[in-house]
Amino acid sequence: MLNQWLYIGIFVVISLALPAVAILLARILSPKKPNKIKNSAYECGMETYDKTWVQFRIQYYLYALVFLIFDVETVFLFPIAVAYNQATLFMVIEAIIFISILFGGFLYVWRKGALSWY
């Protein structure tokens, strides 16, 4: 089993290294003639004004929160799915209750309007 993790480790390093090496190579090969106008932010073709790192809408944050809840829930559900063949009916019903509680929360969020895009 440890060998499999070793391969994953090597592959993670390789897959980070491949694009990095390619970009470095291109950096060396490519011409470098920066000037002030070329290096200004393109934005949308107009001259840029004001700060860039602006406040953004709370909506994105709400989506992220709901996503977080669901993702944690799925991580809890994976062990149930793996052990499903050994589980009795009672355990399955417990799992269903677990999901229904989450589903209730989901409906609450829906009713509160957190899922609609204004």
Binding site: I14, P19, A26, F70, L89, V92, W110, L115
Partner: protein
Amino acid sequence: MNLIDFLRDPIIAISDWITNLFSNWGMATDWATFLLYLIGAAVLGISALLMTLFFIWAERKIIGRLQDRVGPNQIGPWGIFQSVADMVKIFIKEHIIPTGVDPIPYHLAPIVLVASVLMVWAIVPFSNTVYGSNLNVAVIFLLAVGGLGEVGVMMAGWGSNNKYALISAFRASAQMISYEVPMAIILLIPVLLSSSMSMNDIVNAQNIPYILVLPFGALIFFIASIAENGRAPFDLAEAESELVAGFNIEYSGLKFGMFYVADFLRAFTSALIFSTLFLGGWKGPGAEAIPVLGAFYLIAKSLIIWFLGVWIRGSFPRYRIDQMMNINWKFLTPISLVLFMLVILFSKLVEPVGQNMQYLVILIINLGLFFLSFRILNNQNKKKVVAEVGSRTRPVAKPDNLFSKDVSRG
């Protein structure tokens, strides 16, 4: 070793040969394994990246044909070397780094994005002997790596000191994390049917391809994976008309090329994952005796799924962002939760009868839920149209609106 044995499974034959070579040199076994893995990983990664050249050409050609254009046709027969020429060009283009970028996220973003796509290739079983890693938590690894892509997008948007890039990055990451939810829930069902999270075990358990057992689940997974890739009709992140070009607007040279590569490679990678999970992976007639055939089957299946994605990209108009979010949160997510609940309940109830009965019940649940959900969807659409026809809610437009009923009557 004769030629037939070699041709039957070239990858394993080569790796055996390398192992023998290392042991003849008197290398310790651990080091030999490490070096073998290093070579394997490098070969897999580089070949995945080089395959992208082909996919870029093929996708441009197919999209061109779908839109009644010729597509690339200048370099080589059918323009097949177009993407090679593009690669050479983009390699020697200047890297313009705008002033005021946040350097660490700006430079790291293309690397992280490409890596997040490449890492998926480590867990895909290409045949019953050739696979990167038989990880026992491969499905969770898949979800985790998917999350890395969102980090890359956010880094690109945040780092480039551009308001449009920032908006696009927020949109893209909202879209990607949203569509990960139904994807993860549907992923549970193949795990449940094969009672393992390892990709190899999931493929081995598929005596019947899972798409025949859970067609609706596979459909949800397919839609979610298209949206997660950010391709049309869900290409809100790259809506040229609204956001200039998306989160990669301030990039140039090979850094932009890396975004391009990640985009096109991800399309094929998700097709690969789909065919591993739902179409039986390398399984096919004679694939167990001749492993090369297995790899061939896997590539063929993934190409079909990938072509389907390209076809959809060429045919559908773009969704509005609220529509896209609603499809996910108000349709796919609840329906996949309900699907999962029904599947675990009913297949447990009929478990004593046997596995085939379980499969049948799951199939019936899938088809039933499919028709029911689209029935509900259609009814809601009808209601919506009725509500919008009466223009009473828009009093401003009423007096001089030539098309409203009152004016035409008077």
